[in-house]
Every structure is written in C-alpha cells, then in structure tokens.
Symmetry: C2
Subunit: 226 residues, 2 copies
C-alpha cells in the first residue's frame, strides 16, 4: 500500500475554506475511515437522499452492504454516483465570541461511482470483511450466509480516489481582541466507551465472551467491564 | 407543541423493510434530533453531495448554519431540496449467523426544501439557538457577532414534515435454528463521555468553568472530571 500517496484534489474535494484543515494523503484518509463505525451515503433518489451505513475499508475501496430491497441499492444501480462521508466529533470548542464556537472533528468525503460486487466469491469476501473489520476471527465461528440469505443482500464498493479528509484540532482560534472577555473558553472533549457485554439469553451454554479489544482500539474507545 | 402528532409517511419516508422500526410521531423524532450533536445533509452539487453539520431544533424546524462561502449554501440557494439525517449508534449487535449482525441505532431522516433566514432578527435568533442548544445562558456571556461576522455566515432551516425516525433496540433477532451455535452472541453497548474541561490558555483570569451538565444530559453522556 502506498499509504504516503497524495490524492489529487478535484473541484469537489478542494477546500474553499480553512484549507489548512484539508488532507489528501491516503494515510490520513484511511486512519479516519478505520476509526469511524458508520458512514452517511448521499445518492440520488428522486432528489438528494442520504442513508447511514456500517461500512468497512479494504485497501483503496470502502465497502457497504444491505438488503436487496434497500432503495439506495436500487438507486445506485441506476445512477451510481454517490458521496460517502465518515465523520467523528472529538470535542466541542467554546470561544469567547459567538461566531468562533466550533467542534474538533475528523471527516472524510469520497465522491465516486459505486460498483456492485456481483461475483459470488468477491461478494462473500465483502461480507466477511464487514465482520472481520470489527471482530477479527469471528467469521470462522459464525454461520455463513445460506444461499437464500446470500441473495437477499447486495454489496457495493466505492474507490477512494476523489477523496479528502478534513481535521480540526486544538483550542479556539486566538483572536486577541476577545481575550479579555470574562467567559470560560476551551475544549470539552468527547470520548466513547464500549461494554459491558450483554449476553443474548438464547445463547448456547458456556460460549466464551467476544473479545472486544480490537473494536475498542478501532474506535479509540475505552472498555467498560461493569 | 402537538408532540403527540403523527406525521404522514410519504413515498420516501415509508419504510420498505423492518417497518416495525419506523416511527412517525413528533415526540420520537424530536427526542432523537435533540440527542444528536451532528447531522449529515445531502444536497445536489453537480451530483449527490453530503456535508456533516452541527444543527439545532426549534419547534418543528431544524436549523443549521455556516460560512457564506460554503458550497452547500450556494447549492441550496439554487436547489433547496435536501435530505437531513441525524443518526446515533447505541450498540453493536452480534448474532450467531453472519447475516444477522446489526447495530442498535436511532435515526431521523427529513426530506424537504431548505429556507434561508435572511431577515436579521430571525437570523440572529437562529445563531443564538445554536449556542443555547448546547450551553443555555451562554449567549449573554459571549461577544455577539459583529456586523462583518454576521454577514459572513448564513442560516438555513428545514421543516420537520416529511420525516421519519427509525430505531433498533435489543438483542439479536431470535432465529431458533441457530441457537445451538457455540459463539458468543449479544450486545456491545456504546456510550459517550464528555470532559474533562480544557481551559484555553488565552482565557481571562478567573473565568468560572462552563457548566456542561445540560450538554451531558442532551447527549446522554457521562461527565469525566479528570
């Protein structure tokens, strides 16, 4: 993987404002994609439409899947252009002036044409990738899709080519003329925890607990055990 | 507020799948909107485009704002139809079969025509609403927008009319034929914490700390003090 590779800004991905916040290198883009549990995908369905989706990344593509009856997949089959956005809020930023309040965030926007994985082996590998993204090793422990289940879902992917990341970090932008205003300013960080595990009452006896350390590491989350 | 009011499903908001997960009452829709710090807004900009946005709700509208140079606002001025989505992930749901893995989530989708608030008093009230949503009482402590800052931003709103909520809760859907598979199944809850506060080094001396109890309650977050 040429993760040091820089993508070329397009007319759509070039930042008009705060261009110092923009990043076009694959390493940064991939790190944000890998930390985000969910994306929002914009597509055309009798006008602008957006759906939240669990997704996963493999090399230079993002993959997502869903029911064959999902209207997004119908729409993407007719008109594959879409806009994929993954965003994370890291903190609220409180400034002394109304207009300078902000959030610290990491986001990736990808424009492109979604492509369906129709070939069975590639499609199965796509479904496997979703499980393995969150819970490595789990695929071999669970029941794979039956033929009927397999045809009930569709898997799409989108190339990470016309893509950009945007990141804000740190304190409010310093505007010296406001320093004397006697109001609290600074950062309120947000953090995520996962757990404790809640066992499905229909479980077979003595099933060992799922290891969620990889999931925690992926999300930058702490683990709650009780 | 007629919060018991039921919205009428449209062709776009009617759920095709898992229709038991759909909700059309304002109380449910508003509760999800109020708990979500961020929305993703889909619009048409030479094809499907999506931007993450901080937003706020007042009565039966959602409001969002940004720089006058933001391409989304240019686009919405020409073509106001948009799709507003707020989503929250509450848990990962691990099933015994690959295809039944899921997430517990709450989401709201609103379709409609965004309308710009151009009248100065309404626009100012919109900006005030954003601050007051997260930090009640803060507006009166901070510096209001200067005339130049005021024209550098635009405020839009969207009516909550063609809207629906979708909610998944609980354990994996029980498929008795899979109960014997000896793999852990259940729920991995996600939770959010905010804090501890990080004071801007450029603060005036002795500024009292921001109260974040309302923000925590809004987000359903716990407060970390160290």
């Amino acid at each position: 993987m040429a993760s040091g590779e820089e993508l070329k800004p397009s007319e759509r991905t070039r930042l008009k404002r705060f261009s110092a916040r923009g990043r076009f290198d694959r390493a940064t883009i991939n790190a944000i994609l890998d930390a985000a549990p969910m994306a929002h995908i914009g597509f055309d369905y009798k006008g602008p439409a957006v759906l939240p989706m669990i997704f996963w990344r493999k090399e230079n593509h993002v993959y997502f899947h869903g029911s064959s009856k999902n209207r997004m997949f119908e729409a993407l089959s007719r008109s594959p252009q879409c806009c994929f956005v993954a965003s994370l809020i890291d903190a609220f930023v409180l400034a002394r002036a109304a207009i300078h309040h902000s959030v610290n965030y990491r986001s990736v926007v990808i424009y492109g044409a979604a492509e369906e994985l129709k070939e069975p082996a590639a499609k199965l590998e796509g479904l496997r990738g979703l499980i393995e993204r969150f819970y490595p090793g789990r695929w071999d422990q669970i029941r794979p899709p039956s033929p009927q289940e397999f045809v009930s879902v569709r898997v799409f992917r989108l190339p990470i080519e016309e893509a950009s990341a945007k990141i804000r970090t740190g304190f409010p932008t310093p505007y010296a003329e406001d320093f004397g205003i006697p109001v609290w300013a600074g950062i309120v960080p947000l953090s995520t925890s996962i757990g404790p595990l809640q066992l499905d009452p229909n479980s077979a006896p003595d099933t060992p607990p799922q290891d969620i350390s990889h999931l925690a590491s992926l999300l930058g989350a702490s683990i709650k055990t009780a």
